[in-house]
Symmetry: C2
Subunit: 336 residues, 2 copies
Amino acid sequence: MSTLNRSIKLVSRPQGMPTYENFELVTNSLPTINEGELLIRTIYLSVDPYMRGRMNGVKTYVDPFQLNEVLIGGVVGEVVESKNNDFKTGEIVEGRLGWSDFSVSNGSNIRKIDPTLAPISTSLGVVGMPGLTAYFGLLDIGKAKEGETVVISGAAGAVGMVAGQIAKIKGCRVIGIAGSEEKVNYLSNQLGFDQTINYKTENVLDALKAACPSGVDIYFDNVGGEISDAVIKLINYKARIIVCGQISQYNNEQIETGPRIQGQLIQRSALMQGFIVSDYADRFGEGYRQLGKWVKEGRLQYRENVVDGLENAPDAFIGLFRGDNIGKQLVRVSEE
Amino acid sequence: MSTLNRSIKLVSRPQGMPTYENFELVTNSLPTINEGELLIRTIYLSVDPYMRGRMNGVKTYVDPFQLNEVLIGGVVGEVVESKNNDFKTGEIVEGRLGWSDFSVSNGSNIRKIDPTLAPISTSLGVVGMPGLTAYFGLLDIGKAKEGETVVISGAAGAVGMVAGQIAKIKGCRVIGIAGSEEKVNYLSNQLGFDQTINYKTENVLDALKAACPSGVDIYFDNVGGEISDAVIKLINYKARIIVCGQISQYNNEQIETGPRIQGQLIQRSALMQGFIVSDYADRFGEGYRQLGKWVKEGRLQYRENVVDGLENAPDAFIGLFRGDNIGKQLVRVSEE
């Protein structure tokens, strides 16, 4: 085993779109563990849009990343050394850990993954945080019911893809909005979305009017901005707008202005609810079980976009904002 | 009894602020009633901000007013003639009726009022539609809990005043925003609001920061616009924003732009819910009983601003947008 440990630190705060200069790859010696701790070899790490918010120096729902510290994100890895009775060498774990070859944990921030149930990478995606986000957003906030019309922005992303498939499982009519022909074709042909809209080549409002002749009952929003302006024009009485992400806004240096929406919410007795997945921490078990069951039954498909090498994590992260990925964006740091 | 019946019609759609030219007082002969109908002498009629929306020719949650038709609003009056077995001459009724000296009803759009319980005018205010709006908004959407901080815009209006007092009954800390010294003094001195802000003379954001050192748990919004921008900056985790009215926006000829709020809703896992009182039609009985009980116990005060004469109803309506009224704005059309 290597005696070195590479890590990626945030060395400056992005102004607008993140750049490579905001990140630095550093090499240190392998950390040693104390009684009660364990050492984890990173196999996959997850890059997620929400991390952009933590790169600003502002306290929001989570503390900001500190400058010159190792970035923290979703990681799945193998226990390679343990002085903790709850974890054995060779076990697979998932949790919020450093963007590093190896991480130390005391066991409180990780969960065990059974590698016989599904590929371990899915613990960062369809049966991980993005899957739970889709599950609780669509079902607990959205209360999706059979026959309803569901519009999803960022539909080819890790969360949107799961949300759309759960909506199909629940008998909804699902319209996905995404930003390339490859993405919308995948949603239509592979995942069974009823309609798709390529927002880069189509007029979103016109396309939505055509795709939603009975209006929009649920809007699962990962994107925000002008796409949301268009969807909100078409909401039905008692519509639910699930505000999950706003990737179109994360790199703005100032809050963008747009049409005020409160009047439309009144006219339609509509709900708009922001959330983050940890709001549902006490129900994660339920979520993992249901998502795992749907995956096993073949009712919930997933797709991953894997790049190799810890050193490529910054590019994979920046790629989220270029719209590079279809499905879950992962970085493979070492072999399974 | 008069053999004539005066009415107010909408003769043109307001562009921006309504003007007298949008209304016309017409005189017809007293209507006759058929079997199953009753004739009602209007005592009070209610002018309400939501009516502005119906004056545009656009279908929203209610159909628009038709041009050259008599306006329809809340009315309390006396049955002066009845060919309906459910109603007797001399009874007091409340319902959506014409802006007229007399109206005909078949009984389906009115309810009986017991004049021994409270002044009959309260059936249009604190124990009427505005009271119910405050009750269901604050308690069903807002889920107000003891110790929470509640901010109310349009706090000296018919709805805001009730919402603030219910919040006090529930043990909340209540901050009211209104537009004159007379209004804020009334809220502080008479209704026991904890803090008030005169948005015409104070910087709302600075005043809110001082008044809400622990942030805002519930925002009961009757006004919208820049006041809401300021309040939304200060919302807490799991805040509830009750979008009841947007009086600052009703006379706009185009939808105003403002800072996008979805990012703040995500950061705070906050809810924003639009509604209209009829969403709760199946629970009106509960609302009337509770509001009536609080009024009787002296825990819920009310204030009315009464102008005399049907011919003055347009001015009273326009006055809502000038901020003339403290509490419920009524027009007395005939004596009780």
